[in-house]
């Protein structure tokens, strides 16, 4: 009938769509193949520019086509005069701009624009900065644009304080600007390139370090970016890489070396009384090709005579550094170590000014915390400030704040438990060093994880009882001097780290979760001096024949408690 609109069925619509897609694909493939074949023939003409433009408009990530386009443009540079080149490249700039409108995050488009800007006979850097401003106003976290801005700033010599003022404006109008804070953090050190660590900005007394950032988190305490920036302001420079400890023992004729970070053994050399020694270094556990602790054995008889004084040097050629250790007459063992405080392991040395700056920051954040008792960032920042000021002095307050933090942000309570464990271990290391003993005792402290085990190389007794530990990881094998391991009342199921500990005599693991003992028998058997093993209250004791199996596989264990 006339005048009636024919309604298509869904099947027909589907078929139409499919035909359209097929057509689209055909056109695309034809254009792509034409481009590739022209390029293979070395043709650099207008048609090639047209084809690549057509394809790149809808697919600006097709990097090969940008490459081809640049080849054509470079060729044109050789055959056209300066004014023509200027025009061509200006057209190129508008082309990239239209590509960026389609996809403001295309690597290809930004890179091409940068390439063009650098080759333009008469570049207009002010216009480029304006483009960046516009782009950032649409999306202030577009890192492509930030990178491009940094390039423009560098090429056109925009002064650092002008860019700093730019970040002031951006942050002032919208505190939630992670990228601006980050950019700011790269600019501040440029103002004072000659300052050594700690970060120079903390030493700038005339500029109140907190003002902009304090404003930000006082105005909107839930915005992450200002807090992360603030944490960076409180941060420390990276520690010097060094040999932190050398330990020698005549009984096993063994040398153990601890480093400030995991290393491989390339470039490690041992010299004894001026004579280089041929030794084989091994890491504490076969899993580790990189390790903070390396061990070697000297040929039998080399240092066993206790009436001789010996002088040992460990050379780390990678960092052009070495460490000496004297092994005195009458002494079975010797070591040379920088304390955690010397190494500024857990906090930086603070000057008087810095201490007072941090203390006033602590006051400010505490004020905010009273106004916003449920805000996790405040609590976490208070903890970090206290760690920076006086980790031992603030220990109780820190524990209280962690308890609150876990209530206020329960979704991340496991993270806070681990973080608190780390800080408690740091404090225990500090206390152990002040007491000048080799006993590490951290029981009943809600420990969920172990860390800094590389700092425990010299420890002879460790008490980890009544915590929430689930494993003694391979890193535990760094406790090369360990004689007694007390870890009752935990949830330990994994003993991987109790591996080749040459002096270990007692392992106390009452009330844990050890089930698959067979898996760990090898590791326990690798400890030659093991005499006492307490496995009472573990599920493994319910296994049939466990006593006879253990007696057979661990014959040196005379005191077995099941």
């Amino acid at each position: 009938q006339h005048g009636r609109v024919k309604i298509k069925t869904t099947a027909q619509q589907e078929e139409e769509k499919r035909k359209e897609r097929e057509k689209k694909l055909k056109i695309y493939v034809a254009a792509r193949d034409a481009c590739f074949s022209k390029r293979n023939e070395g043709i650099w003409d207008d048609e090639a520019l047209q084809l690549t433009q057509q394809l790149l408009s809808s697919n600006p990530d097709f990097a090969t086509l940008w490459n081809y386009r640049r080849e054509i443009l470079m060729h044109l540079e050789t055959v056209k005069d300066k004014d023509e080149v200027q025009k061509i490249y200006e057209a190129e700039l508008s082309f990239t701009e239209s590509c960026l409108k389609v996809n403001p995050k295309s690597y290809g488009s930004w890179h091409h624009r940068g390439w063009v800007s650098a080759r333009l006979p008469r570049p207009d850097w002010a216009r480029e900065l304006t483009l960046c401003d516009r782009c950032l106003s649409l999306d202030d976290r577009n890192f492509h644009c930030w990178d491009y801005r940094r390039m423009v700033v560098k090429m056109s010599g925009v002064p650092v304080d002008q860019e700093l003022a730019f970040t002031d404006r951006l942050i002032g109008s919208n505190f939630s600007n992670y990228s601006s804070w980050h950019y700011r953090s790269t600019l501040l050190p440029l103002l004072h390139p000659e300052s050594p660590d700690p970060p120079p900005h903390l030493l700038l007394k005339p500029i109140p370090i907190g003002s902009l950032v304090q404003n930000a988190f006082f105005t909107d305490p839930n915005d992450q970016s200002a807090w992360f920036y603030y944490r960076w302001l409180l941060g420390r420079a990276e520690r010097e890489e060094m040999i932190s400890c050398v330990y020698v023992n005549r009984d096993e004729e063994r040398v153990a070396v601890a480093f400030s970070r995991p290393v491989n053994s390339v470039g490690l050399f041992l010299v004894l009384d001026g004579q280089p020694q041929r030794v084989e270094w091994r890491s504490v556990h076969p899993r580790f090709k990189q390790s903070p602790v390396w061990i070697c054995n000297l040929p039998p008889g080399t240092i066993s005579d206790i009436t001789n004084e010996r002088n040992l040097t460990v050379h780390w050629t990678e960092k052009h550094t070495h460490r000496d250790c004297a092994l005195y007459t009458g002494r079975t063992e010797s070591w040379c170590r920088d304390s955690a405080t010397d190494q500024e392991l857990f906090r930086s040395e603070l000057s008087v000014e810095k201490t007072s700056v941090l203390q006033s920051e602590l006051q400010s954040v505490k004020q905010l915390q009273e106004l916003e008792p449920l805000n996790k960032w405040c609590l976490l920042t208070i903890i970090l400030l206290m760690r920076a000021l006086d980790p031992l002095g603030y220990e109780q307050e820190m524990l209280a704040h962690f308890r609150t933090l876990k209530e206020v942000d329960s979704m991340r309570s496991a993270y806070y438990s681990d973080l608190c464990s780390k800080f408690m271990i740091e404090n225990t290391i500090l206390k152990m060093e002040y007491a000048e003993v080799r006993v590490f005792s951290i029981s009943d402290k809600n420990l969920t994880t172990l860390c800094h085990l590389d700092q425990l190389l010299l420890v002879t007794h460790i008490n980890l009882s009544s915590n929430h530990l689930q494993r003694l990881p391979p890193q535990f094998a760094m406790l090369q001097c360990l004689e007694v391991l007390e870890a009752d009342n935990n949830a330990i199921e994994n003993l991987e780290g109790v591996y080749h500990l040459p002096k270990l005599e007692e392992v106390l693991l009452k009330n844990n979760s050890i089930l698959k003992l067979v898996v760990y028998l090898q590791t326990l058997a690798s400890c030659p001096k093991l005499k006492r093993l307490d496995l009472r209250g573990n599920p493994v004791t319910q296994t049939a024949n466990v006593e006879s199996e253990l007696a057979e596989l661990l014959p040196s264990v005379t005191d077995l408690l099941l």
Partner: protein, 167 residues
């Protein structure tokens, strides 16, 4: 009103699915390579090598790597190595560090690094990717890198992340 970069916690509803539909994921990826008539698939040709790598690692983690056509993929990689030693995302495309790395990672998964000209690939790109690539190709001076997570092994050790691969 300032919106702020808030922490956005999501509450998972009690009736949300609690099983990972591994078989369906494996089926999807296994079928993905045969979508040659698809417009979006063709448009993404510029990253094909990386796409293959992403698909293969997932299949490997699920223990389904044998479902992929190893020979076809290795042949494809061979066809993508250029005179300079670099490898492109697909046949006819220009070589690039990203796709060279993806190709090396794929060949490590298949223990077939020798399928390409290794000496030529060792290229002076001093970026993290280039250095990771060199490590996978056996360079002694560079720390070992895990090919699946593409991070140095010592970092993985320090943070306690050492995945037990199913295959």
């Amino acid at each position: 009103m300032l919106t702020g970069t808030q922490v956005k916690d999501v509450i998972i509803k009690p009736d949300a699915p609690s099983t990972l539909l591994l078989e369906k994921h494996a089926d999807y990826i296994a079928a993905y390579g045969s979508k040659k008539d698809d417009y979006e698939y063709t448009l993404s040709e510029y990253l094909r090598m990386s796409g293959i790598y992403w698909g293969l690692t997932v299949m490997d983690l699920m223990g389904e790597l044998p479902r992929m056509n190893q020979q076809e993929i290795v042949d494809f990689i061979k066809a993508c190595q250029h005179e300079c030693g670099g490898i492109s995302a697909s046949i006819g495309h220009d070589p690039h560090l990203l796709y060279t790395l993806s190709a090396v990672q794929i060949l490590c998964l298949y223990d077939s690094v020798d399928a390409i000209d290794v000496d030529k690939v060792v290229d002076p790109f001093h970026t993290l990717f280039g250095v990771a690539g060199l490590s996978l190709l056996g360079d002694e001076q560079i720390k070992p890198v895990n090919p699946v997570l593409c991070m140095p092994e010592d970092v993985l050790q320090r943070i306690g992340l050492q995945p037990d691969l199913l295959s």
